[in-house]
């Protein structure tokens, strides 16, 4: 059973979103996603300052098995990326919800996360 914290929102493509106050959100991938991917060996992150739209592929996770696109769950500007992942991509496997975060986005079209799932709906999706 994977860990799905109740205070986060989730995208169907397995990203989690944490509201940090203001219009800023932190994004990473779920415990379920890291389990499915297996050992993460490389993460390609977007450039700080990039404008992204919800649904854009903006990062790539490489595990031994496969390369997977990571989609931005919101529309806005990338304001920070996790420097830890460059030298320690395995952090995504070890701590997907805290130290293994991917990027922070300042939302430019309001802070509306209603398109995303709550923990319960996401749990249902993972069990299907």
């Amino acid at each position: 059973m994977s860990n799905i914290p109740g205070d986060l929102k989730y995208a169907a493509t397995h990203e989690w979103v944490r509201q940090e106050g203001g219009d800023i959100v932190t994004v990473g991938i779920s415990d379920f996603a890291q389990e499915q991917l297996g050992d993460v060996v490389f993460v390609e992150l977007p450039e700080v300052g990039t404008n992204v739209e919800a649904g854009d592929p903006i990062a790539v996770v490489e595990s031994v098995k496969a390369a997977s696109d990571i989609y931005s769950p919101v529309t806005g500007e990338v304001i920070e990326v996790n420097p830890v992942l460059e030298d320690a991509p395995e952090t995504v496997n070890e701590d997907s919800y805290d130290y293994g975060w991917f990027f922070k986005i300042r939302q430019t079209q309001g802070g509306d996360l209603e398109e995303l799932m709550d923990a319960e709906s996401y749990q249902d999706q993972c069990e299907e």
Binding site: G38, V41, F42, E44, V60, E62, S63, V64, K65, A67, E86
Partner: protein, 169 residues
């Protein structure tokens, strides 16, 4: 061999006693570390043995004839299909099949036929088929990035230890 009725019980008993399951992912990293072709990836009916690093399996130097000998000799002469080489990524990321290989002059000279992250080397390795004179390194087009890769001998790994050598052009 066990009967299919017992397969599930056996599998679960093995898991419980600590045996780790492994499948195609493990098979693929092992065979690539060993420099072994995967049919359908690195070679198929349309690829000459000369272009699939398989020339050692064919006796072309003696007088014996075999079906296809002329075609093999013609390919050996023309090198039209290129050569299968080993690559060691000189940077971060993982080479994957169908990524484009670019030479020092900026020309597209081939593509990755198999690529993975080698658990033994903790580095990405690949096979690529390239045309033209083999260089000591190439650039690999990985999505939006160009990453340098060194040409090395295969196998990459034997008995868990690196055994590859760099190739000088």
């Amino acid at each position: 061999m066990v009967s299919h009725e017992s397969a599930q019980t056996l599998w679960n008993a093995l898991l419980e006693s600590g045996v780790k399951p492994c499948g195609l992912g493990a098979r693929d990293t092992l065979r690539l570390e060993a420099g072994m072709n995967l049919y359908g990836n690195d070679m198929d009916e349309s690829i000459s043995p000369m272009a699939a690093n398989m020339a050692w399996t064919i006796a072309v130097k003696d007088d014996r004839h075999f079906y296809g000998k002329e075609a093999v000799l013609a390919e050996k002469e023309s090198k039209q299909q290129g050569k299968l080489i080993g690559l060691l990524l000189d940077g971060k990321g993982v080479m994957r099949s169908h990524q484009v290989v670019i030479n020092a002059q900026g020309e597209k000279v081939g593509e990755i036929t198999s690529g993975t992250f080698s658990p033994s080397l903790q580095n990405s390795i690949a096979m690529a088929r390239v045309t033209g004179k083999v260089q000591s390194s190439y650039q690999i087009e990985m999505r939006s990035r160009l990453v340098n890769a060194k040409v090395v001998t295969m196998p990459f790994v034997r008995n868990g230890q690196p055994v590859y050598k760099l190739i000088e052009s």
